[in-house]
């Protein structure tokens, strides 16, 4: 247990900025925005008439509604914390088993009598418990500071913050809900946390790529397979090739219409092009969008051929 605590402290020391400074900045932003709005109100309307009106109107609303709005507002204010916390945990875990391999300090950590299991556990506990707890404590402090400023403002216009809103909501219920949601989310997110730690332990470099590319490739492949599965013959690769072939400007077939046969360009099975043997019809094909696509494909193939040819004599 003593060792576990020591290892948790080590994680905190190494990631102070992410664990503590980040939520402090968010809380600070909330408070700054509140102060800014107070000063703006005060500046535009020095008698605070509008604010007074607002407080009066608020007092007219039912106790139930006010309580509910307060409660919902408290929950909503946690969203910003939650999203940023997600990023913090993501990058923390991605570096958790990679950074010390990169700077070779792993050799120092492994010279201490702490097992690998304990080390891994300390990093997982940091992500699941330590980080949310830091965020929670700072969120609670932010709420309290905001409530204090709001109350002072209301007292300033002879309102009673206690009856107006403070007594109408149980803050511990809101904080409890937020805490519960964060800690259950930590369990819910375990597969992702596990994946990030796996990548962190495995990646020879740039763990971010190793973490994001495989699922991305997987998703693209799946979309592609789905795409092929729902493809009609006309639009699949074979269809495109056969259409390409029959639309050639070479004189190849006879077109029958109104009982008369006439020599034609390519095979007149589609009405994409006019198949009559004229110079315009030949040029139409060369200056088409299809031709542009075809040229791109050709360029890729030719470049590939050149690359392979270049290497044909190597070893």
């Amino acid at each position: 247990m003593k060792r576990m605590i020591a290892l948790l402290r080590r994680e905190f020391w190494e990631n102070k900025g992410a664990f503590r400074t980040t939520p402090l900045v968010i809380g600070g932003l909330y408070i700054v925005f509140l102060l800014m709005s107070i000063f703006t109100t005060n500046h535009i309307d020095s008698d605070l008439y509008t604010f007074k009106e607002a407080v009066r109107l608020m007092g007219d609303q039912s106790v139930e509604l006010r309580g509910n709005v307060m409660y919902q507002g408290m929950l909503a204010s946690s969203v910003f914390f939650t999203v940023v916390m997600g990023f913090v945990i993501f990058f923390y875990l991605l570096g958790s088993l990679y950074d010390d391999r990169k700077d070779r300090s792993i050799l120092f950590w492994k010279s201490l009598p702490a097992s690998d299991t304990l080390t891994l556990a300390s990093k997982l506990v940091s992500a699941m418990v330590v980080i949310p707890t830091f965020f929670l404590i700072i969120l609670v402090i932010t709420h309290i500071v905001m409530a204090v400023f709001g109350s002072l403002m209301i007292i300033g216009v002879d309102g009673n913050p206690w009856t107006l809103f403070l007594s109408l909501v149980n803050p511990f219920k809101a904080w409890g809900m937020i805490a519960a949601s964060w800690y259950t989310h930590a369990i819910w997110a375990l597969p992702i946390y596990g994946w990030l730690m796996l990548v962190s332990a495995f990646a020879p470099r740039v763990p971010l790529l190793f973490a994001t590319l495989p699922p991305l490739i997987f998703a693209v492949l799946q979309t592609w397979i789905e795409f092929l599965r729902t493809f009609t013959l006309k639009n699949n690769v074979l269809g495109i090739i056969s259409e390409w072939v029959i639309n050639t400007p070479a004189i190849l077939s006879i077109e029958f219409s109104d009982g008369k046969g006439e020599i034609a360009l390519g095979a007149p099975l589609t009405d994409q092009f006019d198949h009559a043997v004229t110079l315009t019809n030949m040029l139409d094909r060369i200056f088409s969008v299809q031709m542009l696509g075809g040229l791109t494909v050709a360029a890729v193939f030719l470049a590939g051929a050149l690359w392979l040819r270049h290497r044909a004599t190597e070893g």
Partner: protein, 300 residues
Amino acid sequence: MNPIISARGLTRRFGRTVAVDHIDLNIPPGRIVGLIGLNGAGKTTALKAILGLTNFDGELSVLGKNPARDRAALMEDVCFIADVAVLPRWIRVWQLIDLTEQIHPKFSREKCLEYLAETKITLKHKVKQLSKGMVAQLHLALVMAIDVTLLVLDEPTLGLDIIYRKQFYTNLLNDYFDEQRTILITTHQVEEIEHILTDLIFMQDGKIVLDATMDEVHERYAELLVSNDQVTAARALKPLYEHKLFGKYIFLYDGVDKAQLSALGELRTPSVADLFVAKMKGVTNTSTEQNEVQTSGAEA
């Protein structure tokens, strides 16, 4: 007494390459063992196996434990410095001491602070603010404050200047070493450690080519300075190795009677470095002519 390290047929393969090839080791307590070998000879891999940092085949027991399975438990009695630059760069000195104190049951904060007091390192320093030499001092202070039975040093002074290197070994010898402890060192700067060694192990291509106490080495090996007229007689005694320096011939003998040798010229104790060169050459090539060329090249 039970050996500190004992290995039978210790082997480590990486694909087709055999980094450590069936080595046997038996290191009793109270020794300072120098493990010497060229780059890629398998020293570091052997040390890694001993420290539980890599898997291996064969039998290996360190302080009665299997390092591959019990690394964490083993590290209560084993310390290692794996070259100068492995302390985490973000950490502060006081954090490092706190951490080691809480994780290591045999760490003495007082001792560590005592050692640090002799340096310019303060508790508030971050490792990344320290010079290479100071990081080595810090690491050594940490390690010397831990009361362990086995200390493993893998190129502990790599990249340090000569003053730090001297100080490093002096501290180690004066303040740390005693009959209960065993130190296992690898280094390329053989000359700096040869006077502190009690045992010598040479490794080549994953095999042990010499494993002897320094007394045995001095007993067995002799270096003879011979002038031109005695060269044929000296060669007849089948030297392990010969080279020419300032017009004199120098021969290195393995197990030849010293009285017999001293009749031919001036007898000396070979340095570990010379012995090492002779041993490596002795295995790789037997032509004396070529030896001469290569040695003069190596000494130039």
